[in-house]
Assembly symmetry: C2
Homo-oligomer: 271 residues x 2
C-alpha cells in the first residue's frame, strides 16, 4: 500500500476526497485537480453545495455519507469550520492506511484522534474568497503529521500546489495563526477605519491605495520595526496631540490611536 | 509674468528650488528634474547634505542663504520637518509672484502666511526611503493653494510627476493624514508585532509575506469591511478566548487583541 502511494506521486498524483464546500474546499478541490491530483468525492452537509464544486471538476462526485470505507482516496481533507472538526471527525470512516487531515490554523491535530487512520494538518496560509483567483504557487502550506509517511505524503501533495511548504507542530501553528490575525485581520480593520474617516471627509479611499500597497511591500523587504514611520516614530508631539484631539468623538478610534502611538514611541526608545 | 509661466509648462518645465535635504527633498529633486523641470537651488541647514542631492542632478547648486530674491525659480518647495516649517518660512525671501509651498500632510497652509508670495501645499502621499526607488506615476499628490494661479501651477507641476493629483483643503488633508496613520503607520506596527511573535516561535517572518500582500491588495479591490475575515468576523468564541489567554504575558498585545476583536464583532453585528 505504501509503495503504491510512493509510486503515485510523480506518475498520477494523489486520490483525494474533500469534506466541506466553503471557500477553502472550493479552492483546494479546483487547484488540487489542476495540479494533477484526482478529486474522488466532495461531501457537504448541504449536498447542493458539494454539487456546485463537482460541476467545476473534470471528475469526482458528491459523497452521500461520511462512510468512505469503499472509497479509493488516499487523503481526506476536512475543509470545514473549526467548531465542526471534532463532530465530523467522529463520524468519518476511511479505508485502512488513509490519511485524514484538517485545514485549520488554530486547531490541534488531536481533534482527529478518534479516527482510525493516519492524521495530519494541511493549513494553507491565505485568505480565500470564492470569486478571486489566488496564486497557489506562492501560498505557504503548513504541514503537520502523526507519522513520517503522512508527513511525506502531505508534503508532496502540498508541493504539487505551492513552492512554500513548512512543517509546523500544533503549538507553532497556533502562534502563526495568532500572528496572522494581527498582521492581516486587524490590519484589514485599520484599513476599514481609514476608509470610514475618508468617507466622512468626502475623500475617495482610492487615494490611500498606493500607500497601503507600498507599506505592505516594504514590510516584506525589511524588518517592519526598522521602517516604522509616522508621527509616533518621529515623536512629533504637536501632531500627536492634535490627532488625539480630533478623535474626541470616536472614543474607540482614539483608544487605538493612543495604544499604538505609545507602543511605537516605546519601541523607538529602546533602539 | 503669468504668461511666461503658462508658456513654460509644455515647453521647458518649471524652475524649482527646494528647501530641505531629507527623503522627501531627495526624491522630489531627482524626480522633478527627471520629469523635465529644472532644479535651481537646494538649501539645507547642513550644506553638505544639500551638496549630496546636487551631485545627483544635471544642474542646480547649493543655496548659501534663504534669501532667494535674485533667484529665477518660480516655485519654492519646503520639504522639511513639520516643526521647522514656520521658522524657515519666516526667514524665506522669494522673488515677486513666486509660489512657496510645503509638503506636510498634517500642517495647515497658514504656516506660510508671513511669506510675501503666493502660497500652496504640495503633499505627496507616500512613504519615502532614500535608497528605495518609488513609482511616482502612482503616488497621489495633494494640492492646496491660496489662489487660482498657484493651484494651476502646482497642479501642473504635480502632473509632471504623477497621474493622481487631488485638490484638498487643509482640513481634508489633515483627515487624510490621520487616515494614513491608521492604514499605514499602525498597520506597520501590527506587522512588527506579528514578526516578533513568529521570532519567539522560531518561524520565519517570510511565511506571512504572501498573506500580508494579499490582504493589502484585497482592501484596494473591495470595501475593507466587506472582506473582513478571522475569528472576530466569524464570532469564533472558542478561538478568541484561547488567543486572549495565550497573550497573558504580553498585556499590550492582549489589549490590542481585545479592542480589535470587540470592534470587528460590533461592526459585523450592525450589518
Amino acid at each position: 500500500m505504501k509503495v503504491a502511494f510512493l509510486l503515485s506521486i510523480d506518475t498520477m498524483g494523489y486520490n483525494v476526497s474533500i469534506i466541506g464546500s466553503g471557500n477553502v474546499a472550493w479552492h483546494l478541490a479546483l487547484h488540487l485537480e489542476e495540479a494533477g491530483n484526482y478529486i474522488e468525492y466532495i461531501w457537504s452537509r448541504n449536498p447542493a453545495n458539494a454539487q456546485k464544486i463537482v460541476s467545476k471538476l473534470f471528475q469526482g462526485e458528491v459523497a452521500k455519507t461520511l462512510d468512505f470505507s469503499k472509497a479509493k482516496s488516499q487523503i481526506y481533507i476536512l475543509a470545514i469550520p473549526d467548531d465542526a472538526i471534532k463532530e465530523i471527525a467522529n463520524q468519518l470512516i476511511v479505508p485502512e492506511n488513509a490519511i485524514v487531515c484538517h485545514t485549520s490554523g488554530s486547531k490541534s491535530i488531536s481533534l482527529l484522534e478518534n479516527i482510525d487512520a493516519q492524521k495530519g494538518v494541511f493549513y494553507p496560509l491565505q485568505t480565500f474568497s470564492k470569486n478571486k483567483k489566488v496564486d497557489w504557487k506562492n501560498i505557504p502550506i503548513c504541514i503537520e503529521a502523526t507519522d513520517e509517511f503522512s508527513d511525506f505524503t502531505l508534503t508532496n501533495l502540498a508541493k504539487s500546489l505551492s513552492d512554500y511548504v513548512y512543517f509546523l507542530d500544533s503549538t507553532q501553528r497556533k502562534k502563526l495563526h495568532l500572528a496572522a490575525v494581527f498582521a492581516c485581520n486587524f490590519t484589514n480593520h485599520l484599513y476599514s477605519i481609514a476608509e470610514q474617516m475618508l468617507e466622512n471627509a468626502d475623500i475617495p479611499f482610492e487615494i490611500l491605495h498606493p500607500l497601503i500597497k507600498e507599506t505592505a511591500l516594504k514590510a516584506t523587504l525589511n524588518k517592519p520595526a526598522d521602517v516604522q514611520t509616522g508621527p509616533a516614530a518621529r515623536k512629533d508631539i504637536t501632531t500627536i496631540t492634535q490627532q488625539i484631539d480630533s478623535l474626541e468623538l470616536m472614543p474607540q478610534w482614539q483608544k487605538i490611536y493612543k495604544i499604538f502611538t505609545k507602543e511605537i514611541m516605546n519601541n523607538n526608545e529602546t533602539d
